[in-house]
Amino acid sequence: MAEKAVGTWAVKVGMAQQLKGGVIMDVTNAEQAKIAEEAGACAVMALERVPADIRREGGVARMADPTKIIEIMDAVTIPVMAKARIGHFVEAQVLEALGVDYIDESEVLTPADEEHHIDKHAFRVPFVCGCRNLGEALRRIGEGAAMIRTKGEAGTGNVVEAVRHARAVLGEIRRIQNMRPDEWMHVAKEMGAPYELVKQTAELGRLPVVNFAAGGIATPADAALMMQLGVDGVFVGSGIFKSSDPMRRAKAIVEATTHYNDPEIIARVSRGLGEAMLGLDVRQIPEKELLAVRGW
């Protein structure tokens, strides 16, 4: 029998395929992680502060304290993801050493490098990265991201940017799908994306890796909206633990993600959830405070 091969592209991408149709929830401690698991989350994202607090408190946002991450890993049986700063490959090495299941190289944290993202092929642990359009998604996949998520605008409770980014990515895929093969090189140049990945995406009619939505999802209907637009699953950050009844809301978002095509179920689970997080009008946020423009 052949040797076992670990850290391969197939097991990295395959891990994300197991998460599809599910909800990945931001948690900052073991207690929240247990609530997320109990509500039916397919994974949790361990971080020090949820994006709404990062936005409010300011300062440099970094990888979470390993103690916190271990506490969360010990509290649940579902996969645990954690965030590293863009370009901070040592934070990523630390997270890999801790044994997290996925690393989010995330614009929600303060970037450590304004030009270079992490060489994700160099790791055994898989990475998810944010994007605003197809070119950005394919650049991250080129660097080794085994899963993509739209950036949205984290910590706003406002789904508008997640919709914008999902429509951009999915619309561009539809556009290149209808191109002649001799047009792919030009579009690769235009988008700044690797030609081979443009070709593969055009042939598949979808990204070659799993594609979730993130950044501003706060209600069951928001989650179902993103699913109907064509993403594979959703991340919910501040939307759950900044609401008045996290358990109920988390459960409702999980159910709406599974039954995203069934308005009667979405209507039922949306009833009496209490206050959603307050939310921000993205147009009122000063340009320099936007998180989605971090990374390129």
Binding site: M1, A2, E3, K4, A5, V6, G7, T8, A10, V11, G14, M15, Q17, Q18, L19, K20, G21, G22, E37, E38, A39, G40, A41, C42, A43, M73, T77, I78, P79, E96, G99, V100, D101, Y102, R124, V125, P126, V254, E255, T257, T258, H259, D262
Partner: protein, 191 residues
């Protein structure tokens, strides 16, 4: 012949694509009524705790159990195998149909996930290239359960008990369709 794939969460689309490529009608199952007129059911990979909670919430546990007990084929891959098992070593909702004891996350976390060539005599001489992701394994099997594949160290990773089939790995993530064809062959032609 119509086969349902439990579509609460996980890689159900991959199963459906393979079934359709093999010329089988395949449908997504999220509610009990969708089990009607199915010749077989696949429980896909994903998170078994997520499946369990949604299956309880939407009244799927008993109908799925009944379905399995009628003798129609059911196949669980990875999380689906956990969902099918009698014993999983912790309190979580499962169907408890198959007489196997399963250990969740038996190989460790994601960095321990692996690919390996497996000898599977029921599929023929050529090894099956299997993908294990945070995979469970079968610690022990009851009477009447046939072991179909083991790792080098003897760990059981595929088994069958009559109409029930379980694989700890994900045939839906590879291009080799032999497991799907094996499962389809278990489906008795509807008179």
């Amino acid at each position: 012949m119509r086969i349902g794939v439990l579509a609460l969460q996980g890689d159900f689309i991959e199963h459906i694509q393979i079934l359709r490529a093999l010329g089988v009608e395949a449908v997504e199952v999220r509610l009990p009524a969708q089990l009607r007129d199915l010749a077989g059911v696949i429980l896909p990979g994903g998170e078994s705790t997520t499946f369990g909670k949604l299956a309880v919430e939407y009244g799927l546990i008993e109908p799925l159990r009944e379905f399995g007990k009628t003798g129609k084929p059911m196949w669980g891959t990875c999380a689906g195998m956990i969902f099918l098992a009698k014993e999983v070593g912790r309190a979580q909702p499962v169907l408890g149909l198959m007489d196997v004891k399963v250990k969740r996350n038996a190989f460790g976390r994601q960095v321990e996930s692996f690919e390996v060539d497996l000898d599977v005599p029921v599929l023929g001489a050529e090894p099956f290239h299997a993908i294990f992701i945070r995979a469970p394994l079968i610690e022990s099997v009851g009477e009447g359960v046939r072991v179909l594949a083991r790792l080098d160290d003897g760990a059981i990773v595929a088994a069958q008990q009559g109409n029930l089939l379980a694989t700890a790995f994900h045939p839906e993530l590879t291009r080799d369709t032999r497991w799907h064809r094996y499962f389809i062959a278990q489906v008795k032609p509807v008179a």
